[in-house]
């Protein structure tokens, strides 16, 4: 039976890309949800009078 390391590498690469891609999607969603909240906090700080 030949070694077929190319097939093994391809299968592991597909799994890594799919799982890494999904993880990146979650990180991007988290960043998108955080952005308006951080903007709101920033504008409240700017609006508050300095003591």
């Amino acid at each position: 039976m030949p070694d077929h390391w190319g097939f093994v590498a391809a299968a592991y690469a597909v799994a890594a890309v799919a799982l890494g891609g999904y993880w990146r999607r979650l990180v991007r969603l988290e960043r998108d949800l955080e952005a308006p909240r951080l903007r709101a906090v920033g504008s409240r700080r700017r609006a508050a009078p300095r003591s």
Partner: protein
């Protein structure tokens, strides 16, 4: 905090599992190194079964109690399940080419997995297409329950029909029939992928909750 701990645990477990699968587990006698694909393929299908069973249970809870938490769990679990089913199908095809001589064949196991994948992609599309969240959740819950009927069909297809796909070696009653190191590598990857599933679902549920809070 739970999500961060789960994230690190799953990263360590996956790294350990991959080292065991690629470097420590021996070359299988009949299949050669291509058998190492099984350390990704089999745990992926296990997670797919788990994910869609969670969708099934959470959908029943949602329809019975209209609990938004159950709906979010079903949504998150379906997404993760689709990712792992995709990995199962593609890694199976890559294993099939050198072993069976074909990337794909319409036998009962492969066809029922393809149907499972398409049904849950449809489930996610239903959620995305319906603007009214409550109605979308209700339709998705019904689809989540109906689609889960394919899970036993997938698993037992190798017993019920004559297929090219071999019967299960691990997810079956009785002891596993394989050498200790191979079984250890497989079981460690089962645990690693299950942790990864828990991490993804926990994170996705918290994002769905934050999104709902922001919309309210």
């Amino acid at each position: 905090m739970v999500t961060i701990v789960l994230g690190w645990l799953s990263a360590i477990a996956v790294a350990t599992g991959m080292i065991l699968a690629l470097l420590i587990a021996p070359r299988e006698l009949t299949q050669g190194n291509v058998q190492r694909i099984m350390y990704v393929h089999v745990p992926s299908v296990w997670v797919a079964y788990l994910a869609f069973t969670v969708v099934f249970a959470a959908s029943i809870v949602y329809l019975a109690k209209r609990a938004p938490g159950a709906d979010r769990l079903a949504h998150a679990s379906a997404e993760v399940g689709v990712v792992f089913t995709g990995i199962t199908i593609v890694t199976g095809a890559i294993w099939g080419k050198p072993t069976w001589g074909t990337w794909w064949t319409w036998d009962a196991r492969l066809t029922s997995v393809a149907i499972l994948f398409v049904m849950y992609v449809g489930y996610l599309l239903v959620r995305a297409m319906i603007d009214e969240p409550e109605r979308g959740a209700r339709y998705a819950a019904v689809l989540g329950i109906v689609a889960a009927l394919d899970i036993p069909l997938v698993h037992f297809s190798v017993y019920w029909w004559r297929t090219l796909h071999q019967p299960p070696s691990v997810i079956k009653p009785g002891p596993a029939t394989m050498p200790g190191v191979i079984l250890l590598a497989l079981l460690l990857n089962f645990a690693a992928f299950t942790l990864l599933y828990a991490y993804f679902v926990t994170k996705r549920v918290s994002l769905l909750r934050a999104d709902a809070d922001a919309a309210a």
